[in-house]
């Protein structure tokens, strides 16, 4: 049943990956061999529908997938995607993911490791200041903690991109991109450097086809969000900590009042929307309701031990706590309701109210319709998704099913301009290259203005053509297409070149630049992409006009022209 790329036998990933690639290409070639390379695409309705769902509910077709989805029918393919738990990951992808060390770490380990790395960095700086002549004997263990933190940061990108590229659960990965962005946190902010992986794995991916309220609660309690939007520090006005609690030297001990950052964005961005009907007073009152929603930033010592909530993380190792001492015990008036003092229950109630609110349904429905249908989505579609959301108590699987069944979705043409993320992932997928090194992709995402986990502000990346289509983007994309097609990207580099401890992303950008635009052969680069195979993979995604231009170009440039064509910029 699996597409040719996924049909490879399970193998040890470290030794067998080149084999995997060869296998994938051979299988892809076999699957399409009957198709003359430059024949004008025969567009039939079933194939066009299959392409449409692959463009919108997947990151575009990988070799063989268009044929398979056409055979199944678009409706059956969507139904399969809506049950991702029934789609097995190929063993080699499982092995790639299994080699990552970060998913095995608890929130406690991640946070403690980060603080240890911070200490180490401070000590290294002090030591440097103490002996400016550099005469100090190098300590072989020096930098180990910082290297670990850098590895964790990098592995979050690996875990995301390897699945986006190769997981058969494509809709799930498309939705991970959507929902992470909706509940955005920024990897560049302190502790979130090591927490983003855990956040996506625990608070986002399991819930993208579940209930909205569940995901909302999971994000509210994840330390990545508590830290990013500062709620972990927000305390009842006048709160005087009696004993040390919080990060060493951090702001927690000094906290003496409200911080309304999370409360505002929770309503403005996560639920009601900016015009969803709340006031500044509602922001302040919600911040009061959420005081005490914090985390144990360090291992508790002595008698002070608060009940950790096991349900907030899949493994029962959440460091979220509700601290009654920091909670504002007064009554609140919020969204026209009187909230009587009830500890953590107040916040749970607030999340219930927000998750069921018609403004939230409207906000989510609009964003989904914009992502999956059109930059300016038809109001009738948004209305029907709102009803579905409200009728099913925010069942996101039901909402996605409605969206897929809607005439507005089914009639949509490939008009959406791909984001940099969608463009890069779809390009590599189309080539069938089995990526083992995602650094060139992370570097390129940064160059295109969409660094992975690098959106600093809580609104996430925007999602329309106006946000991404600009002169520089076109040059960069065409440059990337040319480098990828001519095999200049080290996507299969096996060894692990030293991950620089600081500025890893900048280093990745520089490496990518050198690889793409230098004249030296690059270790771990891929073979040139065959244009005929590529055109067969993409089918009617590439127009007759573009096919004619490709056919009239020098053979070495043909695959580059396909991937850099106007047709491939849209989905």
């Amino acid at each position: 049943m699996g597409s040719p790329v996924h049909a490879c036998p399970p193998m040890n990933p470290t030794t067998a990956l080149p084999m995997t690639r060869r296998g994938a290409l051979a299988a892809a070639l076999a699957a399409v061999a009957w198709r003359p390379a430059f024949a004008v695409a025969q567009v039939d309705a079933g194939q066009a529908e299959a392409l449409h769902v692959l463009n919108r509910f997947a990151f575009g077709p990988a070799p063989g997938e268009l044929e398979r989805a056409t055979r199944m029918g678009a409706g059956a393919w969507v139904a399969e995607q809506l049950q991702p738990e029934r789609l097995a990951l190929p063993a080699w992808l499982g092995a790639q993911l299994g080699a990552l060390t970060t998913p095995g770490k608890s929130q406690r380990e991640l946070v403690d490791g980060y603080h240890a790395a911070q200490r180490e960095a401070r000590e290294a700086k002090q030591a440097e200041t103490a002996s400016p002549d550099g005469a100090k004997a190098p300590d072989p263990a020096a930098g180990e903690r910082r290297r670990q933190a850098a590895t964790i940061a990098y592995e979050s990108g690996e875990e995301r991109l390897l699945q986006a590229l190769n997981s058969p659960r494509q809709l799930q990965e498309v939705l991970v991109d959507f929902w992470f962005n909706h509940f955005n946190v920024f990897q560049g902010k302190g502790l979130d450097r090591v927490l983003v992986e855990s956040y996506e794995r625990e608070a986002i991916r399991p819930h993208v086809l579940g209930r909205f309220r569940t995901m909302l609660g999971a994000t509210a309690k994840h330390p990545a969000m508590l830290f990013y939007l500062d709620n972990w520090l927000s305390v009842a006005p006048g709160f005087e900590p009696r004993r040390k609690f919080g990060a060493p030297g951090g702001g927690a001990r000094k906290a003496s009042g409200l911080n309304e950052n999370y409360a505002r964005e929770l309503m403005e961005l996560h639920t009601l929307g900016v015009d969803g009907g709340y006031t500044q007073q509602d922001v302040t009152e919600l911040a009061r309701i959420l005081t005490g929603w914090t985390m144990q930033a360090q291992e508790p010592r002595g008698r002070r031990r608060l009940a950790l909530e096991t349900s907030a993380s899949g493994r029962g190792d959440s460091i979220f706590v509700f601290d009654p001492a920091r909670h504002d015990p007064g009554s609140k008036t919020w969204l026209g309701r009187r909230i009587t003092p009830d500890g953590q229950i107040e916040g749970e109630f607030a999340l219930d109210v927000l998750a069921q609110h018609p403004s939230t349904a409207k906000h989510i429905a609009f964003k989904l319709a914009r992502r999956f249908v059109a930059d300016d989505p038809p109001p009738a579609l948004v209305d029907s998704l709102v009803r579905r959301f409200l009728d099913t108590d925010g069942d996101l699987r039901a909402v996605m099913q409605s969206l897929a069944d809607s005439p507005e979705f089914r009639q949509a043409r490939p008009t959406k301009f791909k984001t940099p993320y969608q463009y890069l992932v779809s390009a590599v997928r189309a080539t069938g290259i089995v990526t083992t090194n995602v650094r060139p992709l992370m570097g390129q995402l940064a160059q295109l203005g969409q660094p992975l986990y690098g959106c600093q502000t809580p609104d996430g990346w925007h999602d329309t053509e106006a946000d991404w289509l600009n002169p520089n983007a076109m040059t960069q994309r065409v440059n990337f297409a040319t480098a990828l097609a001519s095999g200049k990207l080290p996507l299969q580099r096996v060894d692990d070149p030293d991950v620089p401890v600081n500025n890893a992303l900048k280093a990745m950008e520089r490496q990518t630049d050198r690889a793409m635009n230098g004249n030296q052969p690059v270790e771990g680069s891929t073979p040139p992409v065959d244009a005929g195979t590529l055109l067969a993979t993409l089918g009617p995604a590439i127009s007759d006009r573009t096919r004619a231009a490709v056919a009239g170009s020098p053979p070495a440039l043909r695959a580059a022209l396909v991937l850099g064509s106007p047709d491939f910029m849209r989905r």
Partner: protein, 421 residues
């Protein structure tokens, strides 16, 4: 007017750029276009705390409400730099003091958007569209300004240069939305690095795919055209000479100073560049923002250095240039429970340039006494940000009255004159 420009540049780009593209810069030479005035907008995204940029150090209420983040009075350790015996400048902006003293730096305090929103994203949107409270405005005010005469004197039959508007960064923000072409250059040294498209056989093949009149084809051609122009203006030899003059060969720190220095060199060497934009994030200081040292200080330091360096590197062009530093709103007058400040209202706008009547803090000052605060928490607004923008357009850029209404539709306030007579 805008429509006409749009058609002209599109048609010219389609037909003529290969003929004139690489020589466009050479043809215009180094002489600035007659009457050419330039505008640079620096947007501080995330709402910079204006009360820590220009602080009213004579007011007790300032110190009472900011017990751990207020800046010390001038003369004290880490103290403010005295501006006018009432306001002081953040000490991390010390590189800007020479400009203040020579009358080329001004501030407009208690300024901002009349819209009450405390949403970063709505407030930025309004400040970029130039139409506070109106979300449907399709274009940004810098793009409308690009379409205005006589800012862009294009001789009859000539092509409007795509580098008239330059944005630094990988994407084009809302402020540039609209029909007039804008070029964007990457942050960092990549702005002038070669790409695969510099190989003639590659560009020839792609040119054929992007020959149409659609948005992608136009963007593709604008990029090719602006790259040719930028590369010519910033050839390594030219850059080396400028570096030597400007900085004794020492490279600028990464980030804003580096980008600003590069933009200055481009503007100095390419007279086509008339409007430029840069954005800088990281100002949303809800926690531990610090005072003379700390998080906000660490952001302000490179900003001050970069702006001063920008002015220096512009050389004589600075005399005809106005730099505006704006941010979507200010922050609460009172510090919050976590050593930071939350979203507020009034803020301070900065203006630098050879034709700024500087050395002065403009605007009616409402004070930070709790009784004077907007909604009991924020600095009130006494100057609409459009008064400042319109004043700069009118007096510094010499935009005629009849064009002003097109750039700021629906605005009927009095433009604030901060230009040197």
């Amino acid at each position: 007017m805008q429509r006409r420009h749009f058609l002209r540049s599109t048609a010219a780009a389609g037909l003529a750029w290969t003929a004139v593209g690489r020589h466009a810069f050479a043809a215009t030479g180094n002489a600035p276009l007659p009457g050419s005035r330039r505008l640079v907008v620096v947007f501080l995204r995330g709402a910079v705390d204006g009360l820590s940029v220009v602080a009213p150090y004579t007011e007790g209420a300032y110190y009472q409400q900011r017990s751990s983040i207020a800046l010390a009075r001038p003369g004290q350790d880490g103290g403010l730099l005295n501006l006018d015996d009432h306001f002081g400048l953040n000490p991390n902006l010390a590189p800007l003091m020479p400009l203040w003293l020579s009358g080329k730096l001004a501030f407009v305090h208690a300024s901002g958007s009349p819209d009450a929103t405390r949403s970063h994203f709505d407030a930025q949107d309004y400040m970029e569209s130039g139409t506070p409270g109106r979300k449907g405005t399709p274009d940004g005010w810098l793009n409308r300004l690009l379409g205005a005469e006589p800012l862009a004197p294009v001789p009859a039959g000539a092509r409007a240069s795509v580098t008239r508007g330059i944005s630094v960064g990988a994407t084009l923000p809302r402020i540039w939305a609209g029909p007039n072409p804008v070029a964007n250059i990457a942050n960092g040294p990549r702005a002038t690095k070669p790409t695969q498209l510099d190989k003639p056989q590659v560009s020839k093949a792609f040119d054929a795919l992007y020959a149409g009149d659609d948005a992608m084809s136009r963007a593709y051609r604008e990029s090719q055209q602006s790259r040719a122009e930028v590369n010519e203006a910033m050839s390594p030899a030219a850059m080396d000479r400028e570096q030597m003059v400007a900085n004794n060969g020492a490279p600028l720190p990464n980030g804003f100073p580096d980008d600003a220095g590069r933009l200055a060199q481009l503007m100095r060497r390419d007279p086509n560049v008339q409007i430029a934009f840069l954005a800088l994030g990281g100002w949303d200081t809800h926690v531990n923002q610090g005072g003379a040292k700390g998080q906000l200080a660490n952001r302000l330091q490179p900003l001050g250095q970069g702006l001063a360096e920008f002015a220096t590197r512009l050389g004589p062009v600075f005399d005809d240039t106005t730099v505006l530093v704006i941010s979507e709103f200010g922050r609460t007058a009172r510090q919050n429970g976590t050593g930071g400040t939350d979203h507020g209202h009034g803020n301070v706008m900065w203006a630098l340039g050879g034709n700024i009547a500087g050395g002065k803090v403009y605007g009616r000052w409402p004070g930070v006494d709790p009784s004077a605060l907007y909604e009991g928490r924020d600095l009130a607004i006494t100057t609409d940000f459009r008064q400042v923008l319109a004043g700069v357009c009118m007096n510094n850029l010499r935009l005629p009255d009849n064009q002003l209404a097109a750039v700021f539709p629906g605005f009927d306030g009095a433009p604030l004159n901060i230009a040197r007579a």
